[in-house]
Amino acid sequence: MFGPAVLYIVALVGLPLFLAFFYAFTDIRVGSTSIHLVGLENFRSVLSSPTFRGALWHSFVFTVSAQVIVLFGANALALALLQRFRGRNLARFIILLPWVAPISLGAIGWKWILDSIYSVINWVLIRFHLVKPFDAPMWLGEPTLAMMSVILVHAWRMLPFSTVIVLAGLTAIPKDIPEAAAVDGAGFWRTHLEITLPMMRPIINVAVLFGVVFTFTDMTVVYILTRGGPFDSTQVLPALAFFTGVLGTDLAAGSAISVFLVPILVIVAWLMLRMAHRAEVV
């Protein structure tokens, strides 16, 4: 009964995790035939690299900003989708699309939307005379704009997931409770902020924790939109580990970089388990 589960965990989670830690202390490279233990050398060199320190910082900015946007967006959308209106099912379906479509396709779509020459956004801005034709923003070409673009695209992609979770939380609240609040004299904001949101806290926590994991470990959006550029300004840890370890063939350094993801993920995983343990819905 345990057998398959144990096998699965060892083969697909345990072994790669062990190898990542092990490689981080060696001088292994892609295609090399020898392997030597080098102690903390990889960590020393990684920590001294400005690219890595930038990536570490960007990872946090990326994760926190995307989650804040997603949280507000998901709440607003969930509240809207709770209302009865014509075409509600269609709206729910459309909102789910970014999540069910492959990330890479979505990201490639955004790459065109944000392209320096063919950007539809810029086309619209120029048509409405909001910017001058040769002065349109370079969405992926300027450090700040590029970071904002990457964050927004990732938020766009995470939004459906969080919306569905928050919607489930909202639906789980008995109808009586907001009605009692309405009779008691509370308006929309008081009801939402003082009654509904606090009641949904456990489930929102789950949404945030999942969101943090998905965002902190994501490299697709960065890889497709900017490759970490311009000037490493959108570089994040998973992408950097991939560029260094796989594309750059320095497996050891790539492993050392990815090991820095572990403490954050361990904390999040611990919080998740704790919450699942005393999950208490209403």
């Binding site: 008995p174 009586d176 409770i177 009605e179 009692a180 609040a181 309405a182 009779v183 008691d184 004299g185 509370a186 308006g187 008081r190 003082e194 009654i195 606090p198 009641m199 806290r201 209403v282």
Partner: protein
Amino acid sequence: MAVVEARNVTKVFKQGELGAVNDVNLATREGEFMVFLGPSGSGKTTLLRMIAGLEEPTRGDILIGGQVVTHLAPRDRRIAMVFQSYALYPHLSVRKNIAFPLRAQGVPRKSHAAKVEWASGLLGIGHLLERKPRELSGGERQRVALARAIVREPSVFLLDEPLSNLDAKLRASAREELTQFHRRVGTTTIYVTHDQVEAMAMGDRVVVLNKGTVRQVGSPREVYDEPADTFVAGFLGSPPMNVTDHGDVLVGFRPEHFLPSAMVQGPKVPLKFRVSTVEYLGAERVAYGVLEGSRWEKKKVVSRFSSNADVRLAADSVVDFAVAEGSLKFFDRQTEKRTTPRGLSWE
């Protein structure tokens, strides 16, 4: 305090949804305890929710204190409501639950503590203020819900089956407490229930509803003794009134009026009763069976009498029973409404 009035109130739902209301007209009296009684789907809760402002009538108007409030939000109606589930805010302490309406209505903060103290004292839950709702028993939750309703001194109380989540024993005492409570605060109260015992015990007047229409409005005594139609006659009373065909009328008599012939005084209608089962219920006995020999042959009837009465009934025996003529109720066959009494002809 205020009078609540419904004028031609109609609520149409989509097909398949229960609880529609059809052209209801009624008005409470000042400080009255009015009960909406009806089976599920009769529209009693819908009517209450329209008075509360949680549902908008399709047609017609709701008036509170003489003012049309049909399109006002619940918060602007000076009402308080107790829900069937109590709808306490689970993440707030009892104190904060009770204080919530005060905060929401912008009552000056300074007076909150005193008002919460007063409301919780009135309901005897002063010692529970720091608890969370999940740490309370059903009866305690119900009191918290009442305290939350009373705290802002509303002009109307709306109660939606507040006792249905309590066990039978607690329900009886809660009923008595609610009556006491109403007497003390004297606020106009509308109480929704499907339980006729609650309606009879607590209501100053009872509004009997069925399929969205008002069948009868009257004191408990009126609706029980003088039912306006066969629905009211059948819905009130347990076991319900015996109703049987008689030419162009329906004739009804309560089980407690259908007794062994010797126990019935004055002019009476004799009937032969074939007993099938007798239930002994402690204070009373209930006999089930069929009539024999008359025009009402094979009609199923129920008799109910005190356990102290000197009556011996064996199953499957045929006994001489009778109904006093004055206890017979007559209903029109077509409309099922009450009609004038007449002599029974047995041609």
